[in-house]
Subunit: 180 residues, 2 copies
Amino acid sequence: MALEHAILVSLSERAGSGYELTRRFEKSIGLFWSATHQQIYRVLKRMEEAGWVAVDVVAQSGRPDKKVYTVSDGGRAELVRWLAEPDPSAGPMELAVKIRGATFGDPGAVAAEIVRHRSAHAERLDVYRQIEKRDFPAPAGLQGQHLHQYLVLRGGIRVEEGQVEWFDEVLAALHHEKDA
Amino acid sequence: MALEHAILVSLSERAGSGYELTRRFEKSIGLFWSATHQQIYRVLKRMEEAGWVAVDVVAQSGRPDKKVYTVSDGGRAELVRWLAEPDPSAGPMELAVKIRGATFGDPGAVAAEIVRHRSAHAERLDVYRQIEKRDFPAPAGLQGQHLHQYLVLRGGIRVEEGQVEWFDEVLAALHHEKDA
DNA sequence: CGTTGCACTGCAACTCGTTGCATAGGACCC
DNA sequence: GGGTCCTATGCAACGAGTTGCAGTGCAACG
């Protein structure tokens, strides 16, 4: 699971409380991700026990105390480790977190991970296109069940196309950044 | 959850055992979906208790007996109901199942559901594009953290674009089918 | 002045899904 | 002959995530 790592990235960008993190996840990171406050509170507790984050209880006027979390050395090390670790089962959300976290680790290692996923998705796309060619050579005349199955396949193809194009855009930008 | 309904669609296309369904989910429906045999066995049991499917124990030579499941009248009614029911929280997988199941219900109702989701995603896409314009007016010069945040946003935009295009393709095909 | 809403944390119970293990007979390989 | 794989079902335990509830105290609405 990568909620921990998503929190590490978010806290690396800016320290914050559980409540604040919940708000953030509804927006920026939450383009892909969603998490309830419950989930975040529990994961934060676990992360504190593991020594990845440090807590600072801040009294506030008028409102309840809040626990502001900061990434510790252990957390930074874990984030660097995770960013470089290949994970074939990672989905777009995990990769988005890795990209967003690249600043806090080795951008080259993140790029390498993207390359791996790019080829996996390109292969899949190829399989889908072959199925399309083989099973639906004349899509214009399709009806009923066959049409509906074709449309679902088209969805799969579009998703994979989008992924591959995105990975290419990311890789081009990361290479360009390295050169600059 | 829609695993039940995915199974109803799959069993409507063809009767089968839990084991067989597991295999199917690894392929066709599993373009988007994945489910372990455990999950499927348990859901099938629940569906049987609810009267959505009927079981037929088939003895086989050499291999264990298998339980072949068939959709019952109750199951067909439930599928029709679910296909027509609006579900704002449905993701691409759920919609793919609805599209694939349109044959067994009212394709017009499914199209209406797609229209709803199309406009939701189009709105989101608009929001993302405005964020892009506002926060990243000159993407070519971006570096570090800002670049990485931009790339994630680009991923979100591509995903939404892909969704909207897919919905449009589906709607065009369903309309064309209705006229034919 | 009462209600609604927001900020902030947390417990308890639940659902959904995965993993490990068990069983059992046959096929296939070396 | 022994190992492993495939078909076929299922239990038990676990992990991840959601939902419901609960409490506090200020601010703003009408």
